[in-house]
C-alpha cells in the first residue's frame, strides 16, 4: 500500500515536473538542447520508474504507531520553531530549550533533560563560537 502510494505520488510529481519544465522561459541565446530537455527527460524517467512499485509493491514497511508518529511530528515542530526562534532570542537560549525538549522526548527525565539541554547549548557555544570562532545566531543579549 505504501509503495503504491509512493508510485502514484511520483507519477503526479513527474507530471507536475514535466509541466513546470515546459513553462521554462527560453531566452534568445540558447544551445542545441536548451534548458527544457533534461528536466523533461528526468520527469519521464521518474514516471517510468514509478510504475514498478505500483505493479509490484514491496512488503509494507513497519510504520510507527500513532503515539510514536506524534513524537516525530512534535520533534519536527520543535525544530521548525527553533529555526524561527534563533534570530529572535539568540543561540544559547533557543538551543538549550530545543535540545532539552528533544532529549526529554528521547526518554530522559525532565530534570536531566533540562541539564542536558543547557550543557549541549553551552558546550557548543564554547567550542564552536569561543574556541573555533564560528558565527552563531545573536540574540538581544549578544549570544
Amino acid at each position: 500500500m505504501s509503495d503504491r502510494a509512493l508510485g502514484v505520488a511520483c507519477l503526479l510529481l513527474s507530471a507536475f515536473y514535466i509541466f513546470m519544465a515546459t513553462q521554462i522561459q527560453t531566452s534568445f541565446i540558447t544551445d542545441y538542447l536548451g534548458p527544457k530537455f533534461f528536466p523533461i527527460l528526468i520527469g519521464v524517467l521518474l514516471a517510468i520508474s514509478a510504475i514498478f512499485p505500483i505493479l509490484k509493491p514491496d512488503p509494507e514497511p513497519d510504520w510507527p504507531g500513532a503515539a510514536r508518529m506524534i513524537e516525530i511530528v512534535f520533534a519536527v515542530a520543535v525544530m521548525v520553531a527553533y529555526t524561527y526562534a534563533l534570530p529572535v532570542v539568540g543561540f544559547v537560549l533557543s538551543t538549550a530549550i530545543t535540545s532539552g525538549l528533544l532529549s526529554w522526548r528521547l526518554g530522559a527525565k525532565p530534570l536531566s533533560a533540562a541539564m542536558a539541554g543547557v550543557s549541549i547549548s553551552v558546550g557548543i557555544y564554547v567550542v564552536f563560537h569561543l574556541i573555533l570562532q564560528l558565527s552563531l545566531a545573536r540574540g538581544p543579549w549578544g549570544f
Binding site: S99, A108, I124, S135
Partner: protein, 505 residues
C-alpha cells in the same frame, strides 16, 4: 619513479604541524563517530563538512581533516559490532558475525586488537593501490570528452542502483529525485531560472550540503524517536584487560587479511559498491575458503579479520574513481565529493594535473592517518568503549544541534534550516520505505555536470544523437552501465548483505 616523487611532495604538504594536528583530531573524532551507533562515516562526515567549511580552512587541511574522519569512522565501526552486536555503521555489519561471538567467549580484547590490525592492513595496502591505480585511470580519463562523461555519470547511477540497492526501480526513483532537485536554480548555460517558483532563495539552487545533512543526520534523529530506547546499550567491559592479539592469531589470520584486502580494494574501485560490499564479499569468500570446521559465525578470528580488512581496503579503493574521475561509487565517497565541491575543487583528471598538491597531500595524509589510527586504536580502545555508553537521549540532540550550527554557519538563513528539516522528514520517509538516499545525493551533486556534458556533446555534434555512443570508449562505458544495472537481477543474492535500512549510512 614519478609516482614516488609526487608522493614525496605530498608528504611535504601533509607533514606540517597544522596538518598533522588536524589529521590527529580527525582520526580521533572519526573513530568516535564510527563507534557510536547512529553515526556512521556518511552522516558523520556530512555533519562536519559545513563546520569545516565555515571554519574557513583552506582546501588541503580541510580535506585532510575530513578524510581522516572518514578513515577513522571505518576503524571505529567495529567497536560496537564486537562489543554490542550492533554495527556502528553499515560496513561493520559483517564484523558482528564473528566479532560478537568472540567477545562472548571472553576474547573481546583480542577481537578488538585483531580487527584494528586488520583494518590497518586493509587500509594501508589499499592506499598503495590508490597511489598506483589512480594515475593510470587519470591517463584514460584525460581522453574523455563530453559524451564519455555523460555516459560515465549514467554508469554511476546505474551501478549504484544496481549493486547497492535492493530494488532497482526505487534506486532509479531516488536518482531522478536527486537530478530533479539539481535542476532547481538558474540554468548555467542560458541564464534562465528553472523550477524556482519565483522564490529568490531558489535562484542559486538547493545547496547540496543542506540536502545531505538533512537526509543523513536529521532523518537519523527521527528514526531514533521511533523507538524510545534512550538508554545506552550495556557494554560488557570486564574482559577488556588485554587489548592485544597473540602472535599466533595474527599469523593464522594473515592469509585472510591478504585475500580480503585484494577483494575489498577491487570491490571499492568498482562504481556503486563501496565499503559495505567490500566487507560482505570478503567475508563470504573467506568463509568459502577457510571454513572447513564450521567455526565461522562462532567466533573465528578469521571471520573478524576478513571483513575488517575488506571494508577498510574498499574505503581506500572507493577513493580511486572519486578522485580520478570525479564519480563517487558509494555513499561515503559521495559525501566526500560534496566536501570537495564545497571547497571549490572539482575532482577528476584535471585535479591531478592542476592541483597535485591537493591530491598527493591527501594521499600522504591517508598514510599518516592510518598509522595514527593504529596507534590510537590499540592503546585507547578503552576510551572509545566508554564513549559507547553515552546514551542516545543525550547524543542525538547534540548531533541535531551541531547539524543546525553547521548549516546556519554557511548562510545564516532560516530558509536553509527549514530546507534541511524538510530533507530530514523526506529522508525519514524514504528510509522507512527502503528507498536508498545515496542516489539522491549523487543526483544533486552530479545533475548539473551531467546535463552540461549532454548539452555540450550535442552542441559539438550539431544535434546528432549518435555522438553519445559514437566512440569505443562511450560504448564500453554504456555496456558497463547496462551490465551493472542488470547483473543484480541475475546474481544479486550473492552480492548483497541483508541489511537493515535503519543502520547509519
Amino acid at each position: 619513479m614519478d609516482v614516488f616523487s609526487q608522493l614525496a611532495d605530498g608528504f611535504a604538504v601533509a607533514l606540517t604541524f597544522q596538518n598533522l594536528a588536524l589529521a590527529l583530531v580527525g582520526c580521533f573524532l572519526g573513530t568516535i563517530i564510527g563507534a557510536l551507533p547512529g553515526l556512521g562515516p556518511s552522516n558523520g562526515v556530512a555533519i562536519l563538512i559545513p563546520v569545516a567549511f565555515t571554519l574557513g580552512l583552506p582546501a588541503t587541511p580541510a580535506l585532510i581533516l575530513l578524510t581522516s574522519v572518514y578513515y577513522g569512522a571505518m576503524y571505529g565501526g567495529r567497536i560496537s559490532s564486537i562489543l554490542l552486536n550492533i554495527p556502528g555503521d553499515e560496513p561493520a555489519l559483517m564484523t558482528t558475525l564473528d566479532g560478537y561471538p568472540m567477545a562472548q567467549k571472553g576474547q573481546a580484547g583480542e577481537a578488538l586488537a585483531l580487527s584494528g590490525i586488520a583494518s590497518f592492513v586493509g587500509a594501508f595496502f589499499a592506499t598503495w593501490g590508490l597511489v598506483f591505480l589512480a594515475p593510470q585511470l587519470v591517463k584514460v580519463a584525460l581522453l574523455f570528452g563530453p559524451a564519455e562523461y555523460f555516459a560515465l555519470f549514467a554508469l554511476a547511477f546505474a551501478t549504484l542502483g544496481g549493486v547497492a540497492s535492493q530494488n532497482q526501480a526505487k534506486a532509479v526513483i531516488a536518482a531522478m529525485i536527486g537530478l530533479a532537485i539539481a535542476m532547481v536554480g538558474v540554468d548555467h548555460q542560458t541564464g534562465v531560472p528553472r523550477m524556482t517558483f519565483g522564490n529568490i532563495h531558489l535562484y542559486e539552487g538547493i545547496d547540496f550540503l543542506v540536502a545531505i545533512v538533512g537526509l543523513f543526520a536529521i532523518s537519523e534523529v527521527l528514526l531514533f524517536l521511533e523507538h524510545k530506547t534512550g538508554a545506552a546499550p550495556s557494554v560488557q567491559t570486564q574482559k577488556l584487560a588485554r587489548v592485544t592479539a597473540p602472535w599466533s592469531m595474527l599469523k593464522s589470520t594473515s592469509g585472510a587479511m591478504g585475500r580480503s584486502t585484494i577483494i575489498g580494494f577491487l570491490a571499492g574501485v568498482l562504481p556503486g559498491a563501496g565499503a559495505s560490499l567490500g566487507s560482505f564479499v570478503s567475508y563470504t569468500v573467506e568463509k568459502k575458503i577457510s571454513d572447513k570446521d564450521g567455526t565461522f559465525g562462532k567466533g573465528d578470528p578469521r571471520g573478524v579479520a576478513a571483513p575488517e580488512a575488506g571494508n577498510n581496503a574498499a574505503a581506500g579503493g572507493a577513493l580511486v574513481p572519486m578522485l580520478a574521475l570525479g564519480v563517487p561509487g558509494s555513499g561515503t565517497t559521495a559525501v566526500l565529493l560534496a566536501m570537495l565541491m564545497a571547497l571549490n575543487i572539482t575532482p577528476g583528471p584535471l585535479l591531478f594535473t592542476q592541483r597535485p598538491d591537493v591530491v598527493w597531500g591527501l594521499i600522504a595524509a591517508l598514510f599518516i592517518g592510518n598509522i595514527m589510527l593504529l596507534c590510537l586504536n590499540i592503546p585507547m580502545v578503552g576510551l572509545f568503549v566508554r564513549v559507547l555508553r553515552v546514551p542516545s537521549k543525550y547524543l542525538m540532540p547534540a548531533v541535531t544541534m551541531i547539524s543546525f550550527v553547521g548549516i546556519y554557519g554557511i548562510s545564516g538563513s532560516t530558509f536553509d534550516l527549514l530546507m534541511m528539516i524538510i530533507f530530514g522528514v523526506i529522508g525519514y520517509i524514504l528510509r522507512k520505505m527502503n528507498i536508498p538516499t545515496v542516489p539522491i545525493i549523487l543526483g544533486i551533486l552530479l545533475g548539473n555536470e551531467m546535463e552540461k556534458n549532454l548539452r555540450r556533446a550535442l552542441e559539438i555534434s550539431n544535434g546528432d544523437v549518435n555522438t553519445l555512443w559514437g566512440s569505443p570508449l562511450t560504448i564500453a562505458i554504456w555496456v558497463l552501465a547496462i551490465v551493472g544495472f542488470i547483473a543484480p537481477f541475475v546474481f544479486g543474492r550473492f552480492l548483497r548483505p541483508k541489511k537493515d535500512p535503519t543502520v547509519a549510512p
